[in-house]
C-alpha cells in the first residue's frame, strides 16, 4: 500500500469515531439532570410561563431523537450551537479560546520533554544513582500532589511572597494593550506586531501555569523513558554492539533510537491528555482556554459548549494519534509495512 493511500484510509477511519462522539456527547448531556431553561430563567422574577417559553425557543420541548437530528444537521452545516452563558456561537468561542489552551499546553509539553527526557535517560544510564533517585522523587511527587495544590503553592511562593512571577491572571497584563489578534497565540501575535512589552508580559504569565502543568505530565514521560531505555540497554543488539567494541557514544545513540518508540506514543497520549485535563490549571490561573469554558458551561447547564468541547477534544485526540502514527513510521519502517 502506498503512503498516500495509508494516510487516506487512516483519515477515513476517524470519521466514525467523530460521529460516535457527537451522538454520545449529545445523549450524555441531555440525560444529565438539570434543565437549562430553569437555569436561564433564574432571575428573581421568572415564573413557569417564562420557563416554558424558553424551553420552546431552545427546542427543548421536542422529543430527544428530533433534537439529536436537528443537532447533527446543524453540525453538518458547521453550526455548533449557541452558548447561553457567553451569548456567542460555540464555534466562535472555541476558536477564540483554543489558541490559549494550545499555547499553554505546548509550553508545558516542551518543558516536560526538556526535563523528562534527559532525566529519564540519566536515570536509566546510572540506575540507583543520585539522578535515578531524583527522577523517582520528582515523578512520584508530581503524580501524587494534585496539580491545583502545586499551582496554588507556586502562586503563593513566587507571586505573593517573592514577587518574582507576575500576577497569575490571564494571558497578559490587563494594563497593557494586547497585541492585535492574528493567530490567537499571544506570543506569536506579540512578536509579529513587534510588541516586546506584550511579549514579555505574556511569556511571564505563561511560566507558572506551564510549570504547574509540567509537574504532573513529567511523571509518565520520565518513567517510560527510563524503563524503555533500561530494557533496550539490556537487549541483544546493544550487548552485541558493545561486544563488537563500538564507542559508548555510538551505542547510546543506537539505544536511544530504539527506545524512542514507546516514548513517542506515551508523549502523544500525555499531550492529548494535557489538552483536555488542564481545566484545573486554567481555573486557578484565570486562563481563558477551552477547559475553563467547558467547566463554566457544565456549571450553567449550558449543553452546546459542552458538546462542542468534547467534540473538539476528540478531534484533537484523533489528530495527535494520527501524527504519532506518521512519526512511528519515520522512526521504525517496520510499522508502516506491517500495516
Amino acid at each position: 500500500m502506498s503512503a498516500a493511500r495509508r494516510v487516506v484510509s487512516r483519515l477515513a477511519a476517524t470519521v466514525p469515531v467523530l460521529a460516535g462522539t457527537a451522538v454520545f456527547t449529545f445523549v450524555l448531556t441531555h440525560v444529565l439532570p438539570g434543565d437549562p431553561a430553569a437555569f436561564l430563567a433564574s432571575g428573581p422574577n421568572a415564573g413557569p410561563e417564562e420557563i416554558a417559553q424558553i424551553r420552546a425557543r431552545m427546542g427543548l420541548d421536542l422529543p430527544l431523537p428530533t433534537q439529536l437530528w436537528h443537532y447533527l444537521q446543524a453540525l453538518a452545516h458547521g453550526d455548533w450551537g449557541q452558548s447561553h452563558t457567553t451569548g456567542q456561537p460555540v464555534l466562535t468561542d472555541l476558536w477564540q479560546r483554543l489558541p490559549a489552551s494550545l499555547e499553554l499546553t505546548v509550553a508545558a509539553f516542551v518543558l516536560t520533554l526538556l526535563v523528562a527526557l534527559p532525566l529519564g535517560t540519566a536515570a536509566a544510564l546510572r540506575p540507583r544513582s543520585l539522578w535515578d533517585r531524583a527522577c523517582t522523587v520528582l515523578t512520584v511527587g508530581g503524580s501524587c500532589v494534585p496539580s491545583f495544590v502545586i499551582a496554588l503553592l507556586l502562586v503563593y511562593v513566587f507571586y505573593f511572597l517573592l514577587g518574582w512571577a507576575p500576577e497569575p491572571t490571564g494571558r497578559i497584563d490587563a494594563m497593557i494593550e494586547p497585541p492585535p489578534v492574528r493567530s490567537g497565540f499571544m506570543l506569536l501575535d506579540a512578536a509579529l506586531a513587534l510588541r516586546w512589552d506584550a511579549f514579555a508580559s505574556a511569556a511571564g504569565r505563561l511560566l507558572l501555569p506551564s510549570v504547574a502543568m509540567a509537574a504532573f505530565s513529567l511523571a509518565p514521560v520520565a518513567r517510560l523513558t527510563r524503563a524503555s531505555l533500561l530494557g533496550v540497554l539490556r537487549s541483544d543488539p546493544v550487548r552485541t554492539a558493545r561486544a563488537l567494541g563500538l564507542s559508548p557514544r555510538a551505542v547510546l545513540a543506537g539505544a536511544l533510537h530504539l527506545a524512542l518508540l514507546p516514548v513517542v506514543t506515551s508523549a502523544g497520549m500525555v499531550f492529548s491528555y494535557m489538552l483536555s485535563a488542564n481545566v484545573v490549571i486554567e481555573k486557578v490561573f484565570a486562563w481563558p482556554g477551552i477547559g475553563s469554558y467547558a467547566l463554566d458551561a457544565l456549571m450553567a447547564a449550558d449543553h452546546a459548549p459542552l458538546q462542542g468541547f468534547v467534540l473538539l477534544v476528540a478531534l484533537m485526540f484523533v489528530l495527535v494519534n494520527f501524527a504519532i502514527d506518521l512519526l512511528h513510521e519515520r522512526i521504525d519502517p517496520r510499522v508502516g509495512s506491517a500495516a
Binding site: L32, P33, G34, D35, P36, A38, F39, L40, A41, S42, G43, P44, N45, A46, G47, P48, E50, I51, Q53, I54, H84, T85, T86, G87, Q88, D93, L152, V155, Y156, Y159, F160, G163, P166, E167, P168, T169, G170, D173, A174, M175, I176, D197, A200, S201, G204, K283, V284, F285, A286, P288, S292, Y293, D296, L298, M299, A300, A301
Partner: protein, 536 residues
C-alpha cells in the same frame, strides 16, 4: 538630593519599570494606573442588553455603568467613604426633574436637553419611549416592570422631544423604584433599530453583544466570561463626571488569587470573597473591607410545606426550635450577617421584614412539639444544598445534621450540582434544604409576595395561606401607612407562627478595596458602580 535617596528612587523606578514592562514613560504609566480601576470577580457579565434573558448578576453592574435611566436612587452615607442607595429618595439621571399628578396616575419627566448617547446623538423622549416599549415587550424585563404597573406601550407618551409621560391605571408606589432598575435603561433607539430584523424587531441579538447606551462609561472591549474594559464617556451629563478614566473588570475564579492580587496592589476591588478571606483581610491595613447588610435578602432553611412530614406546622416549629442558630452563624459564616432569630416571643416589633423570628435553640420544646405531631422518635429525611454554595452550605449542613440528630431527626445530606438546583426547586422536589435569596425591593408586602405565595420557584416552602393572601392583596394598594403596618404586622405574625421557612440571618454584601478608594456606593444590584468612586 543625598546619595541614599537617589538610590532608593532609582531602584523604585527601575523595579516599577520592569514590573510594568511597558514602553510608556514611567510617569504616564503611574498616571494610567491611578486613573484605572481594576475589579476582580468570580463571574463576568455575559450580555450588554439590559432587557436580556439569562443575564448574569455581573451584567447588572455593566447596565448601570453603561446605560442611564430616567431616575436613580439617591444615596446616603453609611460610614466614612461608604454609601448605600436610599430606597425612598430619587434623583434624576436622564430626567432633570419629574412631576407626579395629584392622583398619582400621571408621571411627567423633563429630560436634560444636553444629554447624548455615546455616538453623539441627543437623547430624546422618543428614545425613552422606544426603550420602555422594548422593556415591556421582552419577557425578562416585562415581568419585573409589571410589578410597578408598567405593562403596556400605550402607557408611554412622547409629549415633545424632551418631555415624556407615563400613564398608570392607578397610583403605584412601585413605579418609581422600577424605573430606577436596569430594566428601565434607556437605549439609543436609532442605533438599535438599525440592527433590527423582521424576525428580531427589538434587535436583541445585536444589543446582546453591543452596547447602545449613553451612560458614564462606554465599553472598550467585551470578552464574555473573561473581562470587560470600560472607558469614561466624557460627554456624560447624567451626573458629576467620574474621576476614573478606565475600569477593567476581570474574572479570577480562585478567591485566594483575588486576595493576593489585592494585597499586592495589582487589583483595586475583590468581590465574592469567602468569609475566612474577609476575616483575614479585616486585620490588615493593605486593604479595607466594605460590609453592607443586604436588607432585601435572607439566608434560610426551607422545607416543602405541602408534603409529609413538613405539612404539620408543629414539625416546622420543632425544627425552628432545634436549629443551632448561633453556631451556624459563627461556624458557617464566621458571624458575618445579622441574626434573624432570637426575638422575644409574641407580636412582631415592627413591620420591617426580614426581621428576627421569635425562635431560639430550645431542644426540649422541639422534642415536645415533635411528639405532639406524632413523631416522638423523630423521622428520616434528606437535606440538600447547592454545590455552588458549598463554602457556606457544607459546614452549615453538617451542623444542622448534628443538631437535628438530638431530637431524633436523621438527615442524609445531598449535594446538588448547581445546574440541577434550579430545576429541583422549580419542580418542588427538595424536601428540606438551605439556600439564600433576595428580592429587588425591601417593602414587606413585595417580599412576602415573592417568597410566601405563588406556584413558583421563589416560594421556597410552597406555602399557601388564604389569610396571608388577603392581607397582601390589601397591603399592595394601601396608601394609609397605619393600615399598611397593621396588615403587614398580621402577615408577619402568620409567618412567625406557620414557619413557611426558617430564616437564619441577613447576609451582608462584602467587597475588599484598596485603602485609598473612596465613595464606594452599594446599589440595589450589588455590583460596583464606577461613577462615584474616587482615589484619594
Amino acid at each position: 538630593m543625598d546619595r541614599r535617596r537617589f538610590i532608593q528612587q532609582g531602584s523604585a523606578a527601575f523595579s516599577l519599570g520592569t514590573v510594568a514592562g511597558t514602553s510608556l514613560p514611567l510617569s504616564a504609566w503611574a498616571q494610567a494606573r491611578k486613573d484605572t480601576l481594576r475589579v476582580l470577580s468570580e463571574g463576568a457579565p455575559n450580555s450588554q442588553d439590559p432587557h436580556g434573558e439569562g443575564v448574569s448578576r455581573e451584567s447588572l453592574g455593566l447596565f448601570f455603568n453603561v446605560y442611564d435611566r430616567l431616575v436613580n436612587f439617591d444615596r446616603a452615607q453609611l460610614s466614612p467613604g461608604v454609601f448605600k442607595y436610599d430606597y425612598g429618595r430619587f434623583r434624576g439621571e436622564l430626567a432633570e426633574r419629574f412631576e407626579t399628578s395629584a392622583d398619582g396616575r400621571t408621571l411627567t419627566f423633563f429630560l436634560r436637553r444636553d444629554a447624548t448617547f455615546h455616538d453623539g446623538k441627543p437623547v430624546t423622549a422618543a428614545d425613552v419611549k422606544w426603550s420602555l416599549d422594548r422593556a415591556v415587550s421582552l419577557p425578562a424585563s416585562k415581568r419585573q416592570l409589571a410589578t410597578g404597573s408598567l405593562e403596556n406601550p400605550s402607557q408611554f407618551t412622547v409629549v415633545d422631544a424632551h418631555t415624556f409621560r407615563i400613564a398608570l391605571p392607578r397610583a403605584d408606589r412601585y413605579t418609581l423604584p422600577n424605573l430606577a432598575l436596569s430594566f428601565a435603561s434607556v437605549l439609543n433607539s436609532e442605533l438599535a433599530k438599525s440592527h433590527a430584523t423582521a424576525a428580531d424587531p427589538w434587535a436583541t441579538e445585536w444589543v446582546k453583544a453591543h452596547e447602545a447606551g449613553g451612560g458614564a462609561f462606554r465599553i472598550e472591549s467585551f470578552t464574555p466570561g473573561q473581562q470587560v474594559v470600560y472607558t469614561r464617556f466624557d460627554g456624560w451629563k447624567g451626573g458629576s463626571a467620574p474621576q476614573l478614566r478606565r475600569a477593567v473588570f476581570q474574572v479570577v475564579p480562585s478567591a485566594s488569587n483575588r486576595v493576593a492580587a489585592l494585597l499586592k496592589g495589582d487589583a483595586d476591588v475583590a468581590l465574592q470573597l469567602p468569609p475566612k478571606d474577609l476575616d483575614a483581610l479585616t486585620d490588615t491595613t493593605r486593604a479595607k473591607v466594605v460590609s453592607v447588610p443586604v436588607t432585601t435578602s435572607f439566608r434560610f432553611v426551607a422545607f416543602n410545606t405541602q408534603a409529609k412530614p413538613f405539612d404539620d406546622v408543629r414539625v416546622r416549629q420543632a425544627i425552628a426550635y432545634a436549629l443551632p442558630y448561633t453556631t451556624l452563624l459563627r461556624g458557617a459564616n464566621l458571624g458575618r450577617g445579622e441574626a434573624l432569630y432570637g426575638a422575644r416571643p409574641g407580636k412582631p416589633a415592627s413591620s420591617r421584614f426580614p426581621q428576627p423570628y421569635p425562635y431560639d435553640t430550645q431542644l426540649l420544646k422541639a422534642k415536645e412539639l415533635l411528639a405532639q405531631a406524632g413523631y416522638p422518635q423523630g423521622f428520616k429525611t434528606s437535606f440538600s444544598y447547592n454545590v455552588g454554595d458549598a463554602t457556606l452550605a457544607e459546614p452549615a449542613a453538617l451542623l444542622i445534621q448534628e443538631a437535628l440528630a438530638k431530637i431524633g431527626i436523621a438527615l442524609s445530606i445531598e449535594k446538588v450540582p448547581s445546574a440541577q438546583w434550579g430545576t429541583l426547586q422549580t419542580e418542588k422536589k427538595l424536601p428540606f434544604f438551605i439556600d439564600s435569596s433576595s428580592a429587588w425591593f425591601n417593602d414587606p408586602d413585595y417580599f412576602f409576595r415573592i417568597f410566601f405565595q405563588g406556584d413558583w420557584r421563589w416560594n421556597f416552602g410552597s406555602f399557601k395561606n388564604d389569610e396571608l393572601a388577603k392581607l397582601l392583596e390589601q397591603a399592595r394598594w394601601e396608601t394609609d401607612r397605619a393600615k399598611y403596618d397593621r396588615a403587614i404586622q398580621r402577615a408577619i405574625e402568620i409567618a412567625f407562627e406557620q414557619v413557611p421557612l426558617v430564616p437564619l440571618w441577613l447576609p451582608t454584601f462584602e467587597a475588599a478595596l484598596q485603602p485609598d478608594l473612596q465613595g464606594f456606593t452599594y446599589y440595589i444590584h450589588g455590583q460596583v458602580d464606577f461613577r462615584p468612586l474616587t482615589r484619594s
